[in-house]
Assembly symmetry: C2
Homo-oligomer: 364 residues x 2
């Protein structure tokens, strides 16, 4: 999508053919900075510190991390080392495992001198595939939006949590792809954007990318969505997911579950946009997903712009008050109206997912 | 309760017998500052800008506002003017109306020269009554806590939203009074404190007062509570309320409804602590309560301590992204396990409330 009129993706290969470049999402919305990754360790740190984030983008970043490792040293030892190091950078993200397994399976049988180019080629393919997948999620979600009769009688009001826009992917986004397509198709759509504490990806990233594209939106505290649903101000919710089980339980940014409860209580459809690598066919119950506990400092401190335009971090808590920071929660399939994938729309259930991915059926 | 070993209330009469003093809660937890109110307009501004907040404290502050007005001018015209001005300072708070009606009914029949002293006397009585009411809410809630078998097998884990502690009242608090009494009785209790965006009363006030009293607690993002309930980390929730209808619908800080939904979904008891003036016997349906829309700047900006120890406000949103800020929501009675008042514990229903307040029954 565009930034100040210039088309961008979130990750791309620099003209030197080796350096990987990414938008530093930790600095948005206050500064737009492109980072160079020259070594595998840059990619590992970039994923771990959330310079890049969002399940699909993490997969693409991990693929380029493998390519950077092969550029430095195409040995078997490095292949194993890079796989292990990158896998540990964000334990909850299933796309990370998917991309690393894909690259490892491709590279391991090759002679070391062939690995570098093969890795870069495959990383570029993963990026192109992701953009196309997201475009299709957008098309399929647009079909759902066209069926909505706005409760307000005027604009269609969406609510989204966290950032599952183009910044979370290579391009288009997952949850936001249908919204971009609806907006571009002339449907009057407005988005309630959960700020998404503690890291404020909604206020920082979703608001920024919607503003850049011209989509009407309003930022709200995470606490407000239930009230807006009670008072008929939300026509549908749509979020992304970091991992969805084969039975349709949705692991996503902490707080997603609370919005799904409110949607269910008020008869508001709750959709989840997801590309196929996000489906974890090995897991049935979301309750079994290990939840990443992140630094308490993400809760106790926050960064913003000062009146002078600088970015400053301030401390919010009294001295001596600890904080806890579980980063994800699991929304049970019973609260999800439908899953929107690149192949179509289905129920959040094993039967629903298998209707779109019949090759994943287990032997009887 | 105590601040650094010194007993305080949140509002009191200065030794000069006219000036009212309050703790400036907008500066907590970063600075502890006492403000002098010398004119009725100081009280109005203090309520409106949330230097004092919390339903019971707003009532006490409004009563002292009337006393300050009578000290300046005990005329009928001023009585009407002060009543009108103070009533408009926080439209959602039923205690405001209760205290102003009480003072007006007391003062109107008196000769103007008698009004000043009568108003100060009644304001002091309201403060003493509030402290006693909160102490009894604490006793009644303690009975509920004693019955809890902790899911963790060890400490009792409470979750609270916003600040309904002693800072929200004259002393003791409503939701936190049972917690203080349990802690003082030797029950191992720990409190998950919702930070309560956008004004962060949990992170700023609840954490501060629990820390000062030595109650173990952990601050969490508002998004985290549902996940903690799903994973058996919460034994009960307890909040305050700004207004509860005769049928038991609970109007409280925005986001309360989401926690009540999660508690209901996970079989976690959801209690509400409230003093009798918070019950609005004239209203049945919470959906009819007008919800205060506060400044968008409360969402888009946040204040905290810099590394240098100064308090700074930073901007969180991209330029050009608007914000909305509904300040309260309504939790339907069906999601509330019990109401805890100064008279005892009852179901969140008209029958439940009438069992404690039989004088409020309507003529058949």
């Amino acid at each position: 999508m565009k930034v100040d009129g210039v088309p961008y993706r979130t990750i791309w290969l620099a003209p030197d053919g080796t350096t990987v470049q990414v938008i530093d999402q930790t600095l948005l919305p206050h500064a737009f900075v492109v980072r160079d990754w020259r070594r595998m360790e840059d990619a590992e740190r970039g994923i771990r510190t959330m310079i890049v984030r969002g399940a699909p983008l993490i997969g693409a970043a991990a693929a380029y991390g493998m390519a950077l490792a092969m550029a430095a040293d195409p040995s078997d030892a490095m292949l194993t080392h890079a796989y292990t190091v990158l896998m540990a950078s964000r334990p909850t993200a299933v796309n990370l495992r998917w991309a690393l397994d894909d690259l490892h399976a491709l590279l391991a049988p090759l002679a070391p001198p062939e690995r570098r180019d093969a890795a870069y080629r495959r990383a570029a393919e993963i990026c192109d595939e992701d953009a196309e997948i997201c475009r299709r999620i957008g098309e399929n979600g647009l079909g759902l939006i066209r069926q909505i009769k706005p409760r307000s009688g005027e604009r269609v009001n969406a609510l989204t949590h966290c950032n599952a826009g183009w910044l979370a992917t290579v391009d288009w986004g997952t949850a936001l792809a249908p919204i971009y397509q609806a907006h571009d198709a002339g449907i009057p759509i407005h988005v309630w954007v959960d700020e998404t504490r503690p890291r404020n990806q909604g206020a920082s990233l979703t608001a920024w990318e919607l503003a850049k594209h011209g989509v009407p939106h309003t930022v709200i505290a995470d606490n407000a969505g239930g009230h807006l649903m009670q008072r008929d101000q939300v026509d549908f919710c749509i979020t992304g997911t970091d991992r969805t089980t084969r039975c349709g339980d949705v692991c996503n940014k902490i707080g997603t579950y609370l919005k799904a409860l409110a949607a269910h209580d008020n008869g508001v459809p709750f959709y989840v946009g997801l590309p196929y690598p996000t489906i974890d066919w090995t897991l049935e119950r979301g309750a079994d997903i290990p939840i990443e506990e992140r630094s308490a400092a993400e809760v106790s401190r926050i960064a913003g712009r000062t009146a002078a335009g600088a970015v400053a971090t301030v401390e919010l808590l009294p001295a001596g008050s600890p904080a806890a920071n579980p980063a994800f929660d699991v929304t049970p399939a019973r609260l999800v109206t439908a899953l929107v994938t690149e192949r179509g729309v289905c129920a959040a259930s094993e039967a629903g997912l298998l209707s779109l991915y019949p090759d994943r059926a287990r032997a009887a």
